[in-house]
């Protein structure tokens, strides 16, 4: 019930898009079903499987290592492994092609040394090229959420497992991992939704996914109804995915009595394997791309860097901070609703609220813009009665931009908050009530401290996502108001990749500080010092 207003944020744009469903487009559908859909459906399914497995294989072990174990360099890697999040996926894609493709430095060198570079795998197109880039760009979601899970799960369960005869490895697989399920599934869901919605990275690799069909219908065939119908199909699929995710979570309880748990100190060869594997991932996903970006930026920074960059940085920060705050507040509300109201309406309201993340960026941008333009027209007509002479009231304001962005990123904040919410036991809440605390006080003194790691994680994820976001920012901004991501979009749309390296580096720099601060904050386990 309380969730409904929040749901409207997402539902209105989606309803606008879905409204085009009523215009049947048999010709386009006939063509698409014969020549396009079979391939893109298969491609999309394969991509989701490979990326899903990839991020689990990378994110979960790394999370375990930095959350529950101790090894040289752990502190550094704890937050450093989040850094790849600051690089937009398609920038990573272009860097990968730039370095490893036929005409790039690596293969050229190989041909100079060995005469032929035939042994090199295809990095310019195909499933594996896309998978590698998306895994590198998206594993931080799983990493951060799983880390929160492992960090707050407490030692008791593991100790109990060991007293029952499980080896440490068995205890991990049969106790720790299942207990972290909501987080891992939450992170995985975010990754899959982002994979479904992604257009930039797959376009660089010319890998045709479902979004390719949507954009082809809309911008190529100029057929918005067909595109809307395809987008509605996508949304339906995501709803099914969400229902499946719900099932996967199960009815288990994930609460812990005490979250404190000392770290497992790694010995022997594991002492070195751990930092090496963390380092390898960091180098591949962050260091190499950043070095390439720096090289490119070094060539052109003199002509491109001007005082406007401070404006871009400020605008990006403003937008990101505002959106993250709003998103995490609303996500907290939604998580609260989910916990306390199990009726059908609430459940569906929550599911619908988080759909914005799986919709391709430009589709959602248009879906958001149309109602805004509609409302503006009416508001302006009203305002004219009082002598107002402009043309825009809602359009271009920061508030509107943030609402649109919240509609998109609510899923991210929600999954973090919701998973964290699972850790709070009914006993704790009942105890607080029996002590006479009112609901707001319970929220403030019991929930917020315990939820802190989850809320911070959500805040960080939304923050960096907004820094990188393009279609909605482009569509809803006002004249002369640009952000770093707008700058990147403009330059890459003209294939000026080298020049785009400069704003891309700025985004990395801007994102660096929050990443460091926030991941450090999630280190501190609530309840361990009390």
């Amino acid at each position: 019930m309380f969730a409904l207003p929040i749901t409207l944020l997402t539902v209105i744009p989606l309803a606008v898009v879905a409204a085009y469903f009523v215009y049947p487009q048999p010709d386009v559908w006939a063509h698409l079903s014969q020549y396009v859909l079979p391939r893109v459906l298969l491609n999309t399914a394969l991509l989701m499987v490979t990326v899903g497995i990839g991020v689990l294989a990378v994110g979960v072990p790394l999370a375990w290592l930095t959350a529950a174990c101790e090894f040289p360099g752990r502190r550094f890697f704890s937050w450093a492994l989040m850094l790849p999040l600051a690089i937009p996926a398609y920038v990573l894609a272009f860097v990968q092609i730039g370095i490893f493709d036929y005409a790039g430095p690596v293969q050229t060198l190989a041909r100079a040394w060995f005469g032929s570079s035939r042994a090199f795998p295809n990095v310019r197109s195909g499933l594996w090229a896309v998978t590698i880039v998306l895994v590198m760009a998206l594993y931080p979601y799983v990493y951060l959420l799983a880390r929160n899970a492992f960090r707050t799960q407490g030692r008791r369960a593991l100790e109990a497992a060991q007293t029952l005869g499980y080896s440490p490895r068995a205890a991990f697989f049969r106790v720790a991992l299942p207990m972290a399920r909501p987080w891992i599934i939450g992170g995985l869901t975010l990754v899959l939704m982002e994979t479904l919605a992604d257009f930039g990275a797959v376009a660089v690799f010319n890998y045709d996914t479902f979004t390719t069909a949507i954009y082809k219908s809309w911008f190529g065939l100029f057929n918005l109804p067909a595109a809307a119908q395809l987008a509605s199909l996508l949304v339906t699929f995501v709803l099914l995915l969400a229902a499946f995710e719900q099932r996967m979570r199960g009815r288990r309880q994930y609460q812990v009595a005490s979250a404190y748990s000392p770290r497992i100190v790694l010995q022997g060869k594991w002492r070195y394997i751990a930092p090496l594997s963390c380092g390898a991932v960091l180098v591949a996903a962050f260091v190499i791309p950043v070095v390439q970006l720096v090289i490119w930026a070094a060539e052109i920074w003199r002509e491109d860097l001007d005082t406007r960059y401070w404006e871009f940085v400020w605008n990006s920060l403003e937008l990101a901070l505002g959106t993250s705050t709003a998103a995490i507040v609303l996500a907290l509300l939604l998580a609260w609703v989910r916990r306390n109201y199990r009726d059908r309406v609430s459940r569906w309201a929550i599911r619908l609220s988080t759909l914005g993340y799986a919709v391709p960026g430009t589709v959602l941008a248009v879906g958001v813009f149309i109602p805004i333009a509609w409302m503006d027209e009416r508001l302006v007509a009203l305002a004219r009665l009082t002598g107002f002479s402009g043309y825009e009231i809602l359009k271009g304001t920061l508030l509107t931009m943030m609402l649109a962005l919240v509609a998109r990123f609510l899923a991210v904040a929600f999954h973090s908050a919701d998973s964290a919410m699972q850790r709070i036991s009914r006993n704790q809440e009942d105890a607080a009530r029996s002590l006479g605390l009112s609901t707001p006080e319970i929220l403030r003194r019991l929930y917020l401290p315990l939820l802190r790691p989850g809320l911070l994680a959500g805040f960080l994820l939304v923050f960096v996502d907004v820094l990188k976001e393009m279609p909605i920012t482009l569509m809803t901004r006002s004249f002369g108001w640009d952000t770093l991501s707008v700058r990147i979009f403009q330059l890459t749309s003209e294939s000026m990749w080298e020049r785009a390296a400069l704003p891309a580096l700025f985004i990395v720099m801007v994102g660096l500080l929050p990443v460091m601060l926030i991941v450090r904050q999630t280190e501190q386990v609530p309840g361990s010092t009390s």
Partner: protein, 344 residues
């Protein structure tokens, strides 16, 4: 963290209230002109600043993806602040006009400065700069006498030697649309099938990468836009020795090289159509065309204007003079054809 978050929230509310500033209407006739452009700011702003300096008219620019801009214009309807829409590719220009987003204007100045084939017959949009899509080859491996037309690249003798751009990019679609308007569906399908059979490697998503692939020896011949070539030469003058340009279809009856446009049109609900028209006329004049096209290595539309030195070095060529509208409206059909043939 709580006080910090409270502070952030307060700041947010304050900033939200202070909406980004909007310019009030000017009382005098130097009313600002509002432009929606898919040409990026970096390429357009120098020209706009020059206009403001020369005439004192303020220009308000909003850039975005071309298709998103069209949806925006359509959604805004009569309350759009845009006076002028500048976009790229004949398909998009045709579509904007077709949707009724642009209004027809007739102007002697524009008719004089811009040739027939580069403007809408109904005056809804006017080409502002030209870019050609032609054949590039490796001079070490290919003799220019072996090259002739786009269609000839479908010949089996080029098997394993051809590099092409993806069919999802409008440049490819417009080229195929031009072939469609010339040869019809069946023959064009044959040609494109031949191209696909001759591909040396997967299609490229970037013309620059395509040209670099020719230079590196991955293929011997390819089709790309000339301004990417210009950019590469500008960065490395030696590049013109590694990859050479060949104007396609120059022979008698072959039709001429495929030309695409960036162009602009006055919006149907423009609040300042006179200002927009003045701007269009200015940018099509000899004076402005120089600045508008030289930094970008495109060719001017105004036949009396000389091109950039790098561009001039490529020599003159016969351009395809099918009206851009005709080519533009075939874009959807070109896409369907590309899908059928399996050109990704």
């Amino acid at each position: 963290m709580q006080p910090l978050r409270a502070l952030a929230a307060t700041l947010t509310v304050c900033f939200a209230a202070i909406a980004p500033a909007k310019a009030a209407d000017q009382a005098d006739n130097k009313q600002p002109v509002t432009i929606y452009s898919s040409r990026i700011e970096a390429l357009l702003k120098p020209t706009l600043d020059r206009y403001t300096k020369e005439t004192g008219v303020e220009i308000r620019l909003l850039t975005d993806n071309g298709n998103a801009l069209m949806e925006r214009l359509a959604a805004e309807g009569a309350s759009t602040p845009a006076d002028l829409l500048i976009t790229v590719d004949v398909g998009n220009l045709w579509r904007a006009a077709d949707r009724g987003l642009l209004r027809p204007v007739q102007s002697e100045v524009l008719n004089r400065n811009i040739p027939d084939s580069m403007r809408d017959p109904d005056g809804r949009w006017y080409g502002l700069s030209r870019r050609e899509r032609t054949i590039f080859y490796d001079p070490k491996k290919v003799n220019p006498s072996e090259l002739s037309t786009y269609e000839a690249l479908a010949d089996p003798k080029w098997k394993g030697k051809l590099c092409l751009r993806t069919g999802k990019q409008t440049y490819t679609q417009s080229l195929v649309a031009m072939l469609l308007s010339r040869y019809g569906t069946e023959k064009t399908e044959e040609i494109v099938r031949g191209w696909v059979n001759n591909l040396a490697t997967d299609v490229f998503t970037s013309d620059s990468k395509l040209l670099e692939a020719i230079a590196a020896g991955q293929c011997e011949v390819g089709i790309a836009n000339t301004y990417y070539y210009g950019r590469l030469i500008n960065r490395d003058p030696e590049f013109k020795n590694k990859v050479a340009l060949f104007w396609a279809n120059q022979g008698e009856g072959e039709g001429g090289t495929h030309v695409n446009l960036s162009g602009g049109g006055i919006t149907r609900h423009a609040k300042n159509p006179e200002g927009a028209l003045k701007f269009l006329e200015w940018i099509s004049s000899e004076d402005a065309q120089n600045g508008y096209t030289h930094g970008t290595f495109e060719s001017p539309v105004n036949p009396r204007v000389e091109a950039d030195p790098i561009v001039k070095a490529w020599g003159t060529y016969k351009a395809d003079n099918t009206n851009a509208t005709q080519v533009g409206q075939l874009q959807p059909e070109a896409i369907l054809l590309l899908d059928r043939v399996g050109y990704r």
